[in-house]
């Protein structure tokens, strides 16, 4: 072999070069096809969503928030199955109203219940958070209150998202006169005093709706809840629409949108594939923040007597009811307040985590 005889340059003392004189051609062999194939490592093709979720999973705060929210949701779904008390009725012992059961502390039983348990030997389900001044189980009331507050928040956020997204995208993408007119409408809605409109609309809608929904599935929700959704749908989308329009205005003039138009991509696809994914971070954070803001508005309205109607309750009205007896029974105020805090904090942290995960520019 000629290679073996080939004299290699002597290695210099200070050189970091490998001393080739120690090797000959036998030390080197060609890579097999299999080995070559191993070099071409290729990851699985992932979608934008999968990739974002992968990053989200690495964020402990966001994952913690998801766990907290999932726990809360699981409890409010499952608990009413196990707890034998009703959120609307006074506790009954053996079919008789238990008048001694009001204002119980946590895990306390009333006199009537104790007597009943002694006489029959049967153990009654404990009042985990005690009872309220009307003798209703507070735990189940908190569960139902959380149900109402969360669903108001989520439904309102979804409504705001859908309306704001469509309105903002159309206005921003088509621009010109369309944008002019659409944004002036937004300005008008924006300039109206929120609370006044909410109160007026709630009052009017309540009258109109009450007769219409009688006997339908919607009746369970009550006219107040439905008018509240109306109000959110009518008023609260303007901020979302403005934010999205602003984002779209900057993105639609970018070169990659021009490139997409050059390819022949249609308007709808440009909006879906190029523009909206690039304002996703704004959409996500605004939607996540819309939920707690809707929860606050709902409790405000409940306080004014325009929110959910008794005996149905929400976290806001529970806290409001507890105000009077704040010094004697602080736990009744603390419990709904803590749950509101948990939900709001978890949603905010989750929103932050989602933004970090889906904004590829930050990575």
């Amino acid at each position: 072999m000629s290679n073996e005889n080939l004299e290699l340059k002597k290695r210099q003392i200070l050189s970091s070069q490998v001393d080739l004189s120690k090797f000959n051609s036998k030390n080197f062999e060609k890579a097999t096809d299999e080995e070559k194939a191993q070099q071409e490592v290729m990851g699985e093709s992932t979608t934008f969503f999968k990739d974002g979720m992968r990053r989200l999973k690495k964020n402990p705060l966001a994952m913690g928030s998801i766990v907290v929210l999932a726990l809360i949701i699981a409890i409010i779904i499952i608990a009413p199955i196990f707890v034998p008390y009703s959120y609307s009725d006074m506790i009954t012992v053996n079919g008789v109203r238990d008048k001694s059961a009001s204002n119980l502390g946590m895990f306390e039983y009333s006199n009537a219940e104790m007597k009943y348990m002694e006489s029959t030997g049967e153990s009654l389900f404990p009042h985990i958070f005690g009872t309220d001044s009307l003798g209703r189980d507070y735990f189940i009331r908190v569960i139902y209150g959380t149900r109402v507050s969360l669903s108001v928040g989520i439904v309102a956020a979804i409504m705001v998202l859908i309306i704001g997204l469509i309105y903002g995208s159309v206005s921003g993408y088509f621009g010109g006169k369309v944008d002019m007119i659409m944004m002036r409408i937004v300005d008008i809605i924006y300039s109206l005093p929120d609370m006044l409109i909410i109160i007026l609309l709630s009052v009017v809608l309540k009258e109109v709706l009450a007769s219409k929904i009688k006997g339908t599935a919607l009746a369970a929700l009550g006219p107040n809840m439905i008018s509240m959704f109306f109000v959110f749908g009518l008023l609260y989308w303007v901020t979302m629409a403005r934010l999205i329009r602003g984002q779209i205005l900057t993105i639609k003039n970018s070169e990659y949108v021009l490139a997409a138009r050059c390819i022949g991509t249609k308007d709808g696809r440009i909006l879906r594939r190029h523009i909206l994914p690039n304002c996703l971070s704004v959409i996500i954070i605004t939607t996540a923040l819309q939920v707690p803001s809707a929860i606050f508005t709902e409790s405000y309205l409940s306080f004014l007597g325009l929110g959910v109607s008794a005996p149905l309750t929400s976290l806001g009205s529970l806290a409001n009811d507890a105000r009077g007896a704040m010094q004697s029974y602080p736990s009744r105020l603390v419990i709904p307040a803590v749950i509101i805090c948990l939900i709001v904090l978890a949603l905010n942290l989750l929103g932050d985590g989602l933004r970090d995960a889906f904004d590829s520019k930050l990575n």
Partner: protein
Amino acid sequence: MSEKETKNLLEVSHLKQYFPVSQGLHKVPLKAVDDISFAIRPGETLGLVGESGCGKTTVGRTLLRLYEPTAGKITFDGEVLFDSGEQYDENDKLIVDATGRPIYGKKVNKDMLPYRKEMQMVFQDPYSSLNPRMTVEDIIGEPLDVHKLYSSKAERRDKILSLMELVGLNAEHAMRYAHEFSGGQRQRIGIARALAVDPKFIVCDEAVSALDVSIQAQVVNMFEELQEKLGVAYLFIAHDLLVVHHISDRIAVMYLGRMMEIADADELNNNPMHPYTLSLLSAVPIPDPETARKSSRIVLEGDVPSPLHMPSGCPFRTRCKYATEQCAMEMPQLKDRGNGHFVACHNK
């Protein structure tokens, strides 16, 4: 056969692109491109040079109808894509009626979608021309999706991988995002996207200007190789005369939205006729200091006039040392000086 070879792939005549600019209460047209005519043969590269803001990019974008042309006629592969209807006689004079209004012929405004497959563009800035939220696979695959050029997912993937190989990207880059690449690699992604539809004509809008010199050479060579392999024609827009001379068969020189000179690359280099071209060529840096010392540089005086207030007649007259009264009176038309060399100047 010979007739077909000489047939132009793209013909542009009297193309105008004005943008309305509001000045106070009334709107003034900004004449970004004013009455430009040229043609590109199949498989040919036409270089388009001129200083910043002279309308080179606008020409490229208007050709692809990314902007709606104000007036003119664009013919691609024998099909009229756009015609605003003005008619011109044999001497290239606008045909007007008694009141001085142009007599309109047939107006054409074709749907561009089928032609997007034939004409493509590579953008100037490789950083902003790729969607930061899409993987390379999706960026290159989008033209395939839009024009439905595959029958199965596997075929789509194969096509994307072969395109990536064609422009010198590794297959494992397919699922990465654009921001993970260097400028040169990004430009390759942009080129692969343009090539995905197998176009006959590509506008390279300053496609190498944003890259550093060594990468420029790679990309320019790649453009040449692709032309040999695929037979595409280029409109190569740049301000670097050396690069343009290297890649182009013919070169066109623009100034303030007007075509000044158009000739074969070597002819233009050896025998520049327009005073503006002369000054451009003299500004090209010469790598040899000996020669550089001997050569004299023509330094233009004054600034480029605002396109909102164009000088009368020849737009270059305010900075031209040969300017005469005639230059202020009328705009010189492109005239054939033999050898396929067209110049728009009264004095040369």
